[in-house]
Amino acid sequence: MKGTTSHPPSIEIFHAQKAGEGFFSWVATVDHKRIGILYLLTAFFFFGVGGLEALVMRVQLAKPNNTLLSPDAYNQLFTMHGTTMIFLVVMPTLIGLANYFVPLMIGARDMAFPRLNAMSYWFLPFGGLLLHFSLLAGGAPSVGWFSYAPLSETPFAPSPGVDYWILALFALGIGSISTSINLIATVLALRAPGMSIRRLPLFAWMVFVNSFLLIMALPALNAAIIMLFIDRQLEAHFFLPSHGGSAILWQHFFWTFGHPEVYIMVLPAFGIISEVIPVFARKPIFGYEFVAASTVAIAILSFGVWAHHMFAVGLGQPMDLFFAASSMMIAVPTGVKIFNWSATLWGGSIHLTTSMLFAVAFLLQFTLGGLSGVTFAVVPIDWQVTDTYYLVAHFHYVLFGGSFFGVFAGLYYWFPKMTGRLLSESIGKVHFWLTVIGFNMAFFVQHFLGLMGMTRRVYTYPDYPGWGLLNMVSTIGAFILGLSVLVLVWNMAVSLRRGTPAGDNPWNAWTLEWAASSPPAEHNFDQLPPIQGRRPLWDLAHPENPDEPEASGGEPESKRSDRNKTGMMCFIASEAFFFIMLLIAYIFYNFSQHPNPGAQWLNPLKTGIFTFCLLASSFTFWRAEKRLGAKDHTGFLVWLLATLALGGVFLVGQGMEYFELFLKGLRAGTNLFSASFFMVTGLHGLHVLVGLIWLLIVLGFALAGDFKTGKTESVKTMGFYWHFVDVVWIVVFTAIYLVGPVS
């Protein structure tokens, strides 16, 4: 494998599609680079929106007892600011960069599923529109980005703002989950020869790990918002304590998603920093293994720390203490990263480009944000400062001082690759200093405000000693920050019009994206350099001192996963988490001391018969697959039809059961049993329905003779889904019908 390796030829027809010009070519694009740019542009637009919202809030808070905004307007603003910045800015920005650069970094032609990729993107503007449509429909949501129930329930938030918020988050969630599946499949299936997992550039690695985080965390949010939606639309009472619901379960569900979400927003930024610092320190990353492994530790731990958002809820001291312990543990791998980045600087030959300046500022600011985070893990301190401006300062240090600074570092680093032109360094430095000064001015003082007793989410405050002054400082800082964004826009405009041509590798960087032209051709690479280490371009330039000298023969060709199977497995994992959350809700509401009545009307025997049909359909599908493998198309069709019929019978059975329950007067809003029963079985039924439609499509393909060519992947992939739906039913049936509500 010495010398150059040609890229594996692409087989799919849509890969060969030529890049067109004009507006429509962007709408119709399936090219990961164009989609990446679409993500970034959309996110930048919403960054402007969210930023303006923040500035209006800061004007309102500039002086005590200000009356510029009504309380409701202010509450809408901070809700929209939070939701926008998290779901429409930080996540799409990072996903956009991942879209553009992960395939390039691993030497792939495109993402694993280009059309799915385009669909994921279009969910973003769609979700953004849904969210902002609330403005025309009676006002934006005004209950905060985590919509604590019961404040977000109909009695306290009757306007449809919260409903639009739910729909928007659901749409954005679909987009994020499918992108994550796509990224995982891309990394597992499409790595160029020689690019083992061990050699992944850290940005690609962190995006990869992050994608797992997304597919496992978002189902918790989806479960929670579906329940809230059922509450609001079908008059159930999952989160209404006045009717036996639980305000605390919402918080558990939300933060099961919400805390991993924090890491979803910083891990890719960590990845950017891990790319930028080595290049501008002219050294390989110090302790690659530790930076990479600590990412996994953070990802896993992030699922076990959510209750630290709830120390003040009164969960009891044992709970608080254990979560304090796990929250502190997560500081260890984070610290490992900081130390490794710092050690990469040590002994380097540091080029303080704008990108590097942002990375260095990231290091310091993120460390500060991380350490103030540690103070929150010390439970009694959290009891004092949570929900104050100290907290606001903390998470802005993490998300702005961390994520955004990482993104800016990445922007200056990769902009030449995306456009072929360098950003101006002199304007860039103005941008940098304005950002640093504005950011720290706006947010550092907020620590003190919090310690002085100023709570968050207040539209006005009394004239206490010091408060007015500090708030004014913060407001001025925010405006400097706003100005810095204009400087960035100016810089990009200047660069696009008359920027210095960048060349393929302006920074002498070492990862594969710099081996492509700037901007990369539609097909990414004409020819890939050999990959025999983590820094292929270093190895190419320094044949005398390669990173992995023993690997001179190239890595033995390891098998790449099948992309369809990988994608499907990830989807199933995500769905499994979703159903786990639903079942937890069911158990929570029904396995209690005083379960609501209704379960006595269930008929395990009758439903058992339909259950048998569903399970039998798994068997028939398995037979169908076998027949297809044996090229017996008639047999395949027969077994496929049997599967369809059995699945249909199951759905009819479920319909009959619902009808009987309706006749007995049971509605979703009747009580907590009925609400949770209809939710779990209904959502499962919906999955069966989707499976049946999918089976019909497969049937159509089969009748058209598509499988006679031996291309049977879609059948196999479908099979995984169908069997999964059956397995879910076994668990649901056991929990609801066999074990039943126990007291």
């Binding site: 009504s70 309380p71 639980s246 302790g287 003040a312 009164g314 600087l345 439970v379």
Partner: protein, 311 residues
């Protein structure tokens, strides 16, 4: 209302004292760590800047000993923090099997305080005896609020359907400002309360006075106001003991005039402010549940003089 800085470090109770001590210690340790990292970064920037014509440094890929050190040392520091956490938590661990001395019920956007022993009921201004540790029960009438007096106690959410407990104590007599710390809707920003710590005899006197109906013998103007109060919709929401007014949805006004503030501690309780409030509460505290009754000036002054007589 509040002269001193309402900061978490100006603690005036054993519970808050423990936390501020712990906080300062943790902050110092964190500051030292931040300084170490900053020193590492800045000295790198100073020493290892690229010089024109300089070559790339030799690659160094890592060092297991260093990695172990900066994994284990922070780990140990955090274990130490954890023991401190456990100790600090123990200081404010209210029992769950004891009857509370004070029941605080939060409403959108005001606080109701009930004293189970004496049956006294008041709003927004909560009197407690100095130097006595009181167990406070926290319940919510609607959404989640949070009871926070920065100088006296850790904050605690007030969750509907999930009663919470909190120790409350003040070392010195005085007014301690509290506020709602969990976002609870439109007027979350102006949902303050006062903890008024008094010497035990003063507190007893207060309790005794609060237990009685308001003094009789109204002047003519006050009587006019009283009749207005009883004939208008005021009585649907407010209570004045000894009169037919028995509403439960809004603050009890039996001893309204003995309070220092109105509107959940947003304005001093003066006749002018009260008149402003009655004229249009929505202008003083927008979006609250008390509507603008469009009272005439004469009605306002009658009601004002009546309410200010409820000592």
């Amino acid at each position: 209302m509040n002269e001193a800085l309402n900061s978490v470090f100006h603690s005036e109770s054993p519970q808050a004292e423990v936390i501020s001590g712990l906080f300062i210690l943790v902050l110092i340790v964190c500051a030292v760590i931040l300084l170490i990292v900053a020193a590492m970064i800045f000295s790198s920037l100073a020493r290892f800047r690229h010089k024109p014509g300089g070559l790339d440094p030799k690659p160094r890929h890592g060092n297991w000993k260093l990695e172990t050190a900066w994994t284990v040392i922070p780990f140990l520091i955090l274990i130490w923090f954890l023991t401190l956490t456990a100790k600090g938590m123990k200081e404010s661990n209210p029992p769950s099997d004891q009857k509370p001395d004070l029941l605080v019920i939060s409403h959108q956007w005001w606080w109701e305080a009930r004293y189970p022993q004496s049956g006294v009921l008041t709003a927004n201004e909560i009197h407690i005896p100095v130097g006595v540790r009181w167990l406070v029960g926290l319940e919510s009438a609607d959404v989640i609020h949070d009871f926070w007096v920065p100088r006296l106690a850790p904050k605690m959410d007030v969750v509907p359907g999930h009663p919470n407990r909190l120790w409350l104590e003040a070392d010195k007599p005085g007014n301690y400002l509290g506020t709602c710390a969990e976002f609870c809707g439109a007027q979350h920003a102006q949902m303050h309360f006062l903890i008024i710590a008094q010497s035990p005899p003063e507190f007893e006197a207060w309790v005794e006075k609060q237990g009685k109906p308001p003094p009789r013998g109204l002047t003519e103007g006050e009587q006019k106001g009283s009749r207005l109060f009883q004939s208008m919709t005021c009585v649907n929401c407010h209570t004045v003991n000894g009169t037919p007014a028995k509403g439960q949805a809004a603050p009890d006004l039996t001893h309204f005039a003995s309070r220092q503030t109105i509107g959940a501690v947003i304005l001093p309780n003066t006749p002018e402010n009260l008149a402003r409030w009655l004229k249009n509460p929505q202008a003083v505290k927008p979006a609250i549940l008390m509507p603008d009754f469009k009272l005439t000036d004469a009605q306002v002054s009658g009601l004002t003089s009546y309410l200010e007589s409820l000592k």
